[in-house]
């Protein structure tokens, strides 16, 4: 039960807090999702009746049914799911909602040892440990940002140039027909320039990715703890001269936030521990650069952390400076667990979620 207050047309936003009434906000949301649901029901009834009353009802194919019910189905699902979400959270506090979301975890087994359930909010490390190394225990996977960038450049180049081709064909048809659309030609010139630029950027990224050769990292143990010392082997493929190859341990913070309608991600390296550095390297055909080093996770280090919008990630960074190609950095994420605590504490039961009393 909340004190009645009329909604205000204009409201202030102070950081993440708003001056407006939460109850009115929820009411507005409920009206929006409710209207979508009602529209979905009305559409379904009207369309369903028309189809059933159509003369060739029996011959209507499944695809026609699906296409006809696509719009009302979308309205029903968006409206219904939105209303269900609102009803689940109605009158609940932020903590109550979080406890409700955590409830399924209570049924999961929480074994001891290196069990992911034992370290809430530490990212899972199974994918880092499923590839054995040839000399050390694990071969670390490469952070996939490199491949995604090349894919993104390629997709942009294809889509943009498809539009350019359509415009060019339209301009060509006009020209053959004895007409010249100067506006279309004026638009076409910058479009062609951007299209060529897109192809150049994509080809350059593709060549750079494949020309220098792969980088491999193997480590002796994983996951690690603050204060742990660990052996690492770096393998760098390629042919020719490299000015420098360096290895370092980095801690990166990542935050995802909304700015207007955009979702943005900001990354910041907050710690960098140099591990090893090699200069003036020549790799002969059929060979690869291979060196062993060891590093120590700082004793007072923050553990790896990942939540929905924020993360703290440890990674091994390999900086390569080839003689004939631009220098580049490749990242190999690792997981660092929290500092060790007393073994007896591990046996105490976990914290719980309870309701005392006769209900709400």
């Amino acid at each position: 039960m909340v004190t009645f207050r009329l909604p205000r047309l204009f409201e202030k936003k102070r950081g993440s807090r708003r001056t407006g009434s939460q109850a009115w906000g929820q009411f507005g949301e409920a009206c929006f999702y409710g209207s979508l649901l009602v529209a979905g029901v009305v559409f379904t009834v009207i369309l369903g009746r028309r189809i059933l009353e159509a003369p060739g009802f029996a011959s209507i194919s499944l695809w026609t049914w699906l296409l006809t019910l696509l719009l009302p189905g979308a309205l029903l699902s968006i409206g219904g799911s939105g209303l269900a979400r609102l009803l689940t959270g109605w009158g609940r506090s932020e903590e109550g909602m979080a406890a409700l979301r955590r409830f399924p975890e209570m049924f999961q087994p929480s074994g001891r040892g290196f069990d992911a359930n034992e370290f809430p909010s530490v990212p899972p490390w199974e994918n880092f440990n499923n590839s054995p190394g040839t000399m050390l225990r694990y071969r670390l996977p490469l952070e996939s940002a490199e491949s995604w960038s090349v894919f993104g450049f390629g997709l942009f180049a294809v889509l943009w140039n498809a539009v350019v081709i359509l415009l060019a064909v339209a301009a060509g048809v006009d020209f053959v027909g004895g007409q010249t659309d100067w506006l279309l030609l004026a638009i076409l010139v910058p479009f062609v320039a951007i299209g060529i630029g897109g192809v150049v950027v994509f080809v350059r990224a593709l060549v750079l990715q494949n020309a220098v050769g792969p980088t491999q990292i193997e480590i002796a143990d994983h996951p690690l703890r603050p204060g742990d010392r660990c052996d690492v082997i770096i393998g760098q493929g390629g042919i020719g001269m490299f000015r420098q190859i360096s290895l370092s341990l980095e801690l990166e913070e990542l935050a995802t936030f909304r700015q207007g309608t955009d979702t943005r991600t900001e990354r910041r390296v907050v710690r960098e521990e140099p591990v090893a550095e090699w200069r003036a390297i020549t790799i002969a055909p059929g060979h690869r650069f291979e060196e062993r080093a060891s590093f120590e996770v700082p004793a007072e280090a923050m553990h790896s952390f990942a939540s929905l919008h924020n993360s703290v990630t440890w990674r091994i960074a390999v900086r390569v400076e080839p003689a004939k190609w631009p220098k580049f950095t490749r990242h190999f994420p690792i997981v660092v667990l929290p500092q060790r605590t007393g073994p007896t504490l591990l046996n105490t039961p976990p914290a719980g979620i309870a309701t005392v009393g006769s209900g709400r």
Partner: protein, 146 residues
């Protein structure tokens, strides 16, 4: 904020005393605390929620993880009949309190009072899990990965 005629102005306060004045705990330790609710007058509290949780602060959207949650609805355990309370919970192994540059992790205890016919009131009390030094920015932004 408008008030219904006859409603007295409330200034609720929740005073929390941790079993450790430094409010610093190690992961997997048990935290014990007592609280006292004041300033509610004769207003009827229909429910109290007490919880322990971590949340993120900084540049990103706020994330939240609950460690302990308890709801009290019995009138005999609620103000004005009973103004004190105590509870205990065991901390998980992670996350630890972290003072990063764009990501910060804080632990807190919240006591939320739900009044009859009024807005709810929440009192937050921060404590530390672990003892990590604050992070310092090195460079911004990092070189694009290849």
């Amino acid at each position: 904020m408008s008030r219904t005629a006859g409603q007295e102005r409330l200034e609720p306060r929740v005073v929390v005393n941790f079993d450790r004045p430094s409010r610093r705990y190690d992961p997997q330790e048990t935290v014990r605390l007592q609280y006292h609710v004041a300033g509610t007058g004769d207003a009827q509290v229909r429910m109290i929620e007490r919880s322990a949780l971590w949340y993120t602060e900084g540049k990103g959207e706020e994330d939240l993880g609950i460690c302990f949650f308890e709801r009290i609805t019995d009138a005999e355990h609620l103000p004005p009949t009973q103004r004190q309370g105590e509870f205990a919970f065991r901390l998980p192994a992670s996350p630890m309190t972290y003072e990063g540059t764009i990501v910060k992790i804080r632990w807190c205890v919240r006591v939320r009072l739900f009044f009859k016919g009024r807005r709810d009131f929440v009192s937050e009390h921060v404590f530390d899990v672990g003892e990590l030094p604050p992070a310092m920015p090195l460079r911004q932004p990092p070189t694009a990965p290849r």
